[in-house]
């Protein structure tokens, strides 16, 4: 059926652009919004000014390549990990200089030395790092406070309960939820015979959703653990974003942006809201802290800027040189600034106003 595709959308204003030596493995804003860090697959961190987009500094953080970055929720502290079995904590000073604070070797096993996931506990007291099937809990001074072994093999994703101290880990066979305040407690098991690749907890902590290898999304309602599955995606729907009011779950994995309604009845038994805009599968989604602005990016390198979740047409668009890798809104209040990275390594700063 022919579809009406919005044509001639205004372009978003490009504030700055730089070409990294290669594709970015991970990217994120510091909690204050002063800096943005992007790390290349071969392990070079680029620290960029949150206002101007100009680079302050760059350094090799992991010799064998990097896999993850994670800013502390309050402090100017950046955690990084790579294919060398080390987690490193970097401190960024007000003069934008950066120093290695602590180097934490987690393993010397060459078969399991990829640390693919990092996540700070919402209160900032601990960093969770997933290395193969092990999940390590690290404190700010680098102490290893404990570890868990994920039974299904390599951990596919980590996610903390919003404002909580429960850590969810997903992988082959389902989800385990660990209560890190009571290390002797038995983890809660959310079983699913399949491979889970991504994880996102709704802001009200009532639902936990996972993107699966078999092109489906699976979710559990807490605390009763009633669960359901949404399938039929042409690609793996690893991109999962919740609207701030926990009403909508947005999923990628197809060229349509799909919004699943989690009001009192949904989403079971109801068709989702689908929004046509992208020509190829959506591979990045980010909702701004304000809860208003939404950005989506696709494999063809197109970024769409939406004024709010649920809009049927984006307000602005932008085109990258290659597949969109990451999208992230500045955490500053009412900020309309979006950072993007592309498969070819272009880091761009956009302002969500017409160029």
């Amino acid at each position: 059926m022919p579809q009406l595709i919005a044509k001639g959308l205004p372009n978003a204003r490009l504030l700055s652009q730089m070409v990294l030596s290669e594709s970015s493995a991970d990217m994120g804003w510091s909690s204050c919004g002063s800096w943005l860090a992007a790390v290349t697959t071969s392990g070079v961190v680029h620290l960029v000014d949150g206002e101007t987009g100009a680079q302050h500094t760059e350094w090799l953080a992991h010799e064998n390549g990097a896999l993850a970055l994670c800013w502390h929720p309050r402090l100017p502290l950046l955690a990084s990990s790579g294919q060398d079995g080390h987690v490193r904590l970097w401190h960024v000073a007000p003069d934008h200089s950066c120093a290695l604070l602590i180097d934490i070797p987690l393993t010397e096993d060459p078969a399991n030395n990829w640390i693919e996931h990092l996540s700070w506990r919402p209160d900032g007291a601990q960093l969770a790092a997933a290395c193969g099937k092990k999940i390590h809990l690290l404190t700010l001074d680098g102490t290893r406070e404990g570890e868990y072994t994920f039974p299904g093999g390599t951990v596919g994703a980590l996610c903390w309960r919003p404002k909580g101290a429960q850590l969810a880990a997903a992988g082959y066979g389902g989800i385990k939820v660990y209560n890190v305040l009571d290390r002797n407690s038995r983890p809660q098991a959310l079983k699913w015979k399949g491979s889970l690749l991504s994880l996102n907890w709704s802001p009200d902590a009532q639902v936990i959703a996972a993107g699966c290898q078999d092109n489906s999304v699976h979710f559990w309602r807490l605390p009763k653990l009633s669960d359901a599955m949404m399938s039929g995606f042409p690609y793996k729907p690893v991109q999962l974003s919740w609207s701030k009011n926990s009403r909508w779950l947005l999923t990628g994995g197809s060229s349509q942006l799909i919004l699943w309604s989690f009001d009192k009845k949904g989403p079971e038994g109801k068709p989702p809201v689908t929004v046509d805009f992208h020509q190829e599968a959506i591979c990045a989604i980010d909702i701004a802290n304000s809860g208003q602005m939404l950005a989506t990016g696709c494999r063809a390198g197109k970024i769409a800027f939406w004024n709010q979740v649920g809009d049927s047409t984006p307000a602005l668009e932008a085109q990258l040189d290659s597949r969109v890798e990451q999208l992230a809104w500045s955490p500053r209040k009412n900020a309309k600034r979006l950072a993007s990275t592309s498969r070819h390594g272009t880091l761009s700063f956009w302002e969500a106003i017409a160029a």
């Binding site: 078969a111 015979k193 793996k236």
Partner: protein
């Protein structure tokens, strides 16, 4: 359209078969390709190379419980990462463990769309230790599967076995997998240009990579060429797997030199003629005669050698099976100056075998689809690989197809043009029933 995806070569083989030796050669010899290595097997011999990723193999089954949807989680994860570094290398080589099942590896390239967009499986190379593989084949399902899945079998350490054992091993491997090229090697010295561009899963190259299509099945497993002096010779045989055996004894025209395979082309039709019985003490005359040797007990037959010259003996079974020996008038053993082991219909009773079909006519697409979908659903777990070129009623192009377990892929190929449309298929699997498959396929003719 040029394929911009990155080729992936998979090395399988039992521990000690020489995988790491071949990998080291791939990494050190000049071939102009930059290679990233994924290793599931470590510790045997060190790899001195920049881009080596060690990983434990992780097998993911899907929620539907279908074993054919089983994929390799470690590969998906690592290839996903390497896709972002694709300017750093031209090819990926995966060295699996000795016990690895190649099925989930191959299936990963069929079912995972992210992988399919960036990578293609160039081929599965299975290394085989010529000295030990017979024993492994007898007690390891994994080794069977590795041979069944191979696009290329590198028969390694051939210096450690004699010619006869090697030939019979080749025949056994060929019987299990008619699709694979078999390369003989020592110290894994297979030619790298062949190893690194196999195109085993490339439907566009289905024909050129199918040696079985080129070599027909013969009613004999062995042929030997002898240079003999005139006089009556003796053929001595013990009892073997059958109470009788077909054979042909013929003089070779030296004015028109022909190889044993060339001779085979000429004589094989005589095996279709009614057989002349011959038992202990009988005379076998030289000529295009189909003999049925009666071998319920150990027997000695007389072979006619009317003049000095070259003679050829073709037998239904290999000499080892009946301990076949040829003696001259002085009772000295005559060794063949050349011998060849042929691709016979069925040689060993291995659970894994391959069957090839070639027949004219066009298939009815509906009948064929219906039959194939039932076959894959019921027997998919036992079908390792399938490949073929088909003539479909109403379509003037070749239809090229391949499959791995229950997964199936097909594309239209070149026009038939002046060629008579026909069908060529190979199935590799466990407990294949040749007669059933052939009958069912012919039922699908329009």
């Amino acid at each position: 359209m040029p394929d911009h995806r990155i080729p992936v070569t998979v090395l399988t083989g039992f521990l000690g078969s020489g995988k790491t030796t071949l990998l080291n050669r791939i990494l050190t010899e000049k071939h102009g390709q930059r290679i990233a290595v994924i290793e599931n097997e470590f510790g045997e011999i060190g790899i001195d190379h920049e881009l080596v990723i060690n990983a434990d193999e992780e097998i993911f089954e899907m929620n539907n419980g279908c074993i054919c949807c089983t994929v390799r989680g470690d590969l998906i994860r690592i290839l996903g990462n390497l896709a972002r570094r694709r300017d750093k290398f031209d090819r990926i080589v995966l060295e699996t463990t000795g016990m690895a099942d190649p099925g989930p590896v191959a299936q990963t390239f069929f079912v995972d769309d992210d992988i399919k967009d960036e990578f293609y499986l160039d081929g599965i190379i299975t290394l085989v230790d010529a000295g030990h593989v017979n024993q492994h084949l007898d007690d390891s399902d994994e080794v069977m599967a590795q041979i069944a899945f191979a696009d290329m079998i590198v028969l390694n350490k051939t210096d450690l076995v004699d010619q006869k054992a090697l030939s019979s091993l080749q025949a056994r491997l060929r019987d299990m997998n008619k699709l694979a090229q078999i390369i003989l090697a020592n110290m894994a010295n297979a030619p790298l240009d062949k190893v690194l561009d196999i195109g085993g899963f490339d439907l566009g190259r289905a024909l050129e990579t199918n040696p079985a299509f080129l070599e027909p099945e013969y009613p004999f497993e062995w042929g030997g060429l002898f240079n003999l002096k005139a006089g009556e010779h003796t053929l001595a045989l013990d009892t073997g797997p059958d109470p009788d055996m077909s054979a042909l004894w013929t003089r070779v025209d030296e004015a028109r030199p022909t190889s044993l395979t060339g001779l085979a082309e000429k004589v094989f039709r005589h095996f279709a003629q009614p057989a002349h019985m011959a038992g202990n003490g009988d005379l076998i005359t030289a000529g295009d005669i189909h003999w049925k040797l009666q071998l319920a007990t150990a027997s000695t037959l007389h072979l006619q050698v009317p003049a000095d010259g070259m003679y050829a003996l073709f037998t239904q079974h290999t000499p080892e099976e009946f301990d076949t020996r040829l003696y001259d008038v002085n009772e000295h053993v005559c060794e063949p100056v050349d011998e060849h082991f042929f691709n016979a219909g069925h040689i060993h009773d291995d659970a894994v075998s391959s069957v090839a079909f070639e027949f004219e006519g066009s298939l009815d697409p509906e009948k064929f689809d219906a039959w194939l979908s039932v076959l894959l659903r019921t027997d998919g777990a036992d079908l390792f690989r399938m490949k073929g070129i088909l003539a479909i009623k109403g379509d003037d192009r070749r239809m090229v197809f391949q499959g791995v377990h229950m997964l199936f892929d097909n594309i239209p190929g070149a026009l038939w043009g002046d060629e008579v449309p026909g069908n060529r298929l190979v199935f590799i699997g466990r407990n294949l029933n040749r007669d059933y498959l052939e009958g069912a396929l012919k039922q699908c003719l329009s």
